[in-house]
Amino acid sequence: MIIRILVVMALAAFAASACTTANGAQLSTHVGIRIHYSHFDQTKIEVPLGVPITFTLINDDPIEHEWLIGDEAFHARHRAGTEAVHGDRPNEVSLPAMSMKTTTLTFDTPGPLTFICHFPQHEAYGMVGVVVVRS
């Protein structure tokens, strides 16, 4: 019974979670990203400008990952960074092994932003994706 209620609530919320862009495209304000075998299962995601977007991040690997989203300058800093754990910024999410987290971001500028896991070797292994913000 509880599962049915959850599913109904989720479906209702999901149905109400889309947003229409200026050109009429329907873009979701809730995005699910799964990490499996050290890869993001989505590498190109389109979201609408100026509204809160909730990302649900599931790491089903037995190793730690992170989900950091920003521009090139942001990633250049993190490639050389020494911050072991992220937690208090919505665009920097640390994901312990076998864990799930959600974060909500509002994008104020159209264009692409990259999300990357900056643990050693993970970016080179392919843990890179793009969020394209549509107006």
Binding site: L6, S28, H30, G32, H36, S38, D61, P120
Partner: protein, 344 residues
């Protein structure tokens, strides 16, 4: 019954460390992700349905701890300190020497959701744990115990766990090694005894943590009762069959005289497989049929085991979004209920 046997390779993973002990057939991954692979040597002897695997962990200086995670083909009966000269004697047996040098030498010398710990043993400065579990469980255990696994580890651990859910984790304590008086370059031989139906030597794992173009050098010695059949055949795939011949009596006598090597038979066949490959080439393992007939394609990693269902049971992105939304909605309800004013 699993058709795998020993020989193994190592998924190496850094703990905290600056040390770089070398396990035979091990890729070593430093704490900064840098890879330092030494040419390594392993010995897999098979007789009377039992695999005897001998490898060595080499002290390369530094301090702290360093670990290796090694897939095994079965549950070992014993893990003990290996003999003193087995690996060195095998190298001498198969290393080509010039005739003049040979003559000089002759003249001179004449669970459920967690990995299950099956076995724990301390050998010199090595803490060894034998684990049973799926790739995720063993990976979680390793993460919980400070291993920093490379990004390919989840897939590679599953690849091996689907064939045999047994792993050996070795943690090398460099401080203890120094306290014991071990010098840089000193090796700690480890002898693992594993009952199993046929030999199996994981090779793909040697590429773990490497870039596609990184070179992998390793030597695998096989001692079987008769000439074995190998799959893939060591030819033009990053493998070479450097030696394949009846084992000499002097070799067998020498091996038998080493500690823990009484099992060595009176006759046998010695094979030496050299790995000289790029990491991207090593997509296979070495399957061995000790009777010389039909090595397993599954054991060679060329075919998935029949019971593997892949990752289709995992949620899709849409399902994840739904789960997240449902949890968020549930949380919101919880918060709303907590904030309801009490009407009395």
């Amino acid at each position: 019954m699993r058709r795998f046997l020993a020989g193994f390779a190592a998924v190496a993973a850094a703990l905290i460390a600056t040390t770089q002990p070398a396990a035979a057939c091990a890729g070593l991954i430093g704490p900064n992700g840098a890879v330092n692979l030494l040419r390594t040597t392993t010995f897999a002897g098979y007789h009377n349905g039992v695999e005897h695997y001998v490898t060595s962990f080499q002290f390369a200086g530094g301090s702290g701890q360093f670990g290796s995670l090694i897939p095994l083909p079965g549950i070992p009966d014993k893990v003990e300190k290996g003999g003193a000269w087995t690996l060195q004697r095998l190298i001498r047996e198969t290393t080509p020497v010039r005739r003049d040098i040979a003559l000089l030498s002759a003249n001179a010398a004449g669970s459920a959701d967690k990995a299950i710990v099956l076995l724990e043993v301390r050998i010199d400065a090595l803490d060894i744990t034998v684990l049973q579990g799926g790739g995720a469980q063993v990976g979680q255990w390793a993460t919980d115990h400070g291993f920093r696994l490379p990004p390919a580890a989840p897939e590679v651990l599953d690849f091996y766990a689907n064939r045999s859910p047994i792993f050996l984790a070795a943690v090398f304590d460099a401080d203890a090694a120094k306290a014991r008086g071990q010098q840089i370059g000193d090796g700690t031989p480890v002898h693992v005894t594993i009952p199993t139906a046929n030999p199996w030597v994981p090779l793909r794992i040697l590429g773990l943590g490497k870039s596609a173009d990184d070179r992998i050098d390793a030597d695998v010695y096989l001692l079987t009762d008769s000439r074995p059949a190998l799959l893939p055949y060591p030819f033009a795939n990053g493998m070479r069959l450097d030696h394949s011949a009846v084992a000499t009596t002097s070799l067998l006598d020498d091996l038998r005289s080493d500690k823990g090597m009484e099992w060595v038979p009176q006759s046998g066949w010695l094979s030496k497989i050299a790995i000289d490959a790029s990491a991207s080439q090593l997509t296979y393992d070495l399957a061995v049929d000790a009777k010389g007939t039909s090595p397993s394609r599954v054991a060679a990693g060329l075919q998935a085991p029949a019971n593997v269902t892949g990752s289709s049971g995992q949620p899709t992105s849409d399902q994840i979004a739904l789960i997240g939304l449902a949890l968020a909605a549930f949380g919101a309800i919880f918060l709303l209920r907590k904030s309801q004013p009490v009407i009395g």
